[in-house]
Amino acid sequence: MKQRALSVYAALALAFLYAPLLILIVFSFNGGRFTLWEGFSLRWYRAAMNDPQLAGGLVNSLIVAAGATVLSTAIGTFAAYGLWRKASRLLSGTLYLSLVTPEIVTGVSLLALFQWAFRFLHLQLGLYTVVIAHVAFSIAYVAIVISARLRNHDRALEEAAMDLGASEWHAFSRVTLPLLAPAIAAAGLLALVVSFDDYVITSLVAGVDSETLPMVIYAMARRGVSPVLNAVSALIVVAFGGIILVSQRLQER
């Protein structure tokens, strides 16, 4: 009896978590402009595809996410491996701190840094400042995923490789790295999603011509109701959900 009550509760809780997203997806196929169901239609998807602002934002977001993912995955993997070899309280503490620092604080402090640096360097905010910021907050995510995998990694494997004459670098690149491949892919996908989704930090450090997709979405949401936004949201939910599922499968391997 008690277990059944708990099951009913869990079903309700899961409904609470999923209902808003499902509602968005359902209404993205609505033929009408308002929140009344007026039949199935793909018109908002067509409108989203033809929106130049959304397209521009998407391109910028993809550029940023690609750059940030490659850099943060490489840096984070090296860091996790280095920490696995020998712990560093300073670095792991910094990484955890970066994870809990409120986004708004990360954002304004990076803005302050860039503005300060621009007094000496003749540069401006642009897409590259967004990439720098995204890498800074993604390294911790990557390092955590890779560290979790390394916890079950047998140290004897590298020792054996080195006994057989491999250099430290070769023991890493030929033995450990291939075994880490699924975890690295999982971490990379996670970094991709985290970068692609960020609004708060991005909006503070992006240059005038470098609006990312979340910035376009935010502006549209602020302006008022637009069914186009439902279509874009639905696409993002499905794409992110898929990527995360793949990432989780990879982490289990």
Binding site: R85, I104, S109
Partner: protein, 274 residues
Amino acid sequence: MRKWFLLPARVWMALFFACPLAIVCAYSFLTRGDYGGVEQPWTIESFTRLADPLYLAILWRSIWIAALSTALCALLGFPLALFISRSGRRKNLYLQLVLLPFWTSFLVRTYAWLFILRDTGLVNTVLTGLHLISRPLQLLYNDGAVLLGLVYNFLPFFVLPMYATLERLDPALLEAAADLGARPFATLWRVVIPISAPGFVAGSMLVFIPCLGAYLTPDLLGGGKSVMLGNLIQNQFTTARDWPFGSAASLVLMLASALILSGLMRSRVARELM
């Protein structure tokens, strides 16, 4: 050799995480410049201004909303974690189901509530259609909407550590309690909950930190009426252009988050989770 592996992360985090925070730290003791920058002399005026009733109210509101969100997450999350920990082979599936929405775009999840709650949104349309109300209810732009958004967004943060604690609970303890005559509720109240206290603490901290520093949720769902510390900081760095004051507020928020994190790192659950 090992230090070469750590070098890129050390350099990046020093340049683009520690350095920015140091600059904000310095700015918080400077004076606002005429054109929005910072100038000498050094002063603690930005910090004393935080004690203004106006800003103190925002500070208290942030703490209060974060605390309330945390309590609600604990209340809603505990039974969910308990259910998952008792689901046998399906544990991982359910856990992933709870965590999945968390990864699907924070912005979209917050917008979803905007879509549901606004004047022409789903709730009001349905209620008007059923002739239960004649005018749309004001569901957005109040503390309740912010609370709802925060609980919705951060519930998984509580469920995860809570589940990790409950999962380690020895079923023999429950049997022992039952054998000794404890009814299910007494077992829950006097055995399960005390043992899972570390999960409560860790989960609460994990929810409280992001709620205290929330910006996007109060911005979209609270409008101008439910301002939290994060919105104050954003405003000082953009519209108001008072960087020293914004820096002081950032520093306070940062210190609060770091203090809670250090408490979290010391807890047993964190060591097992991390």
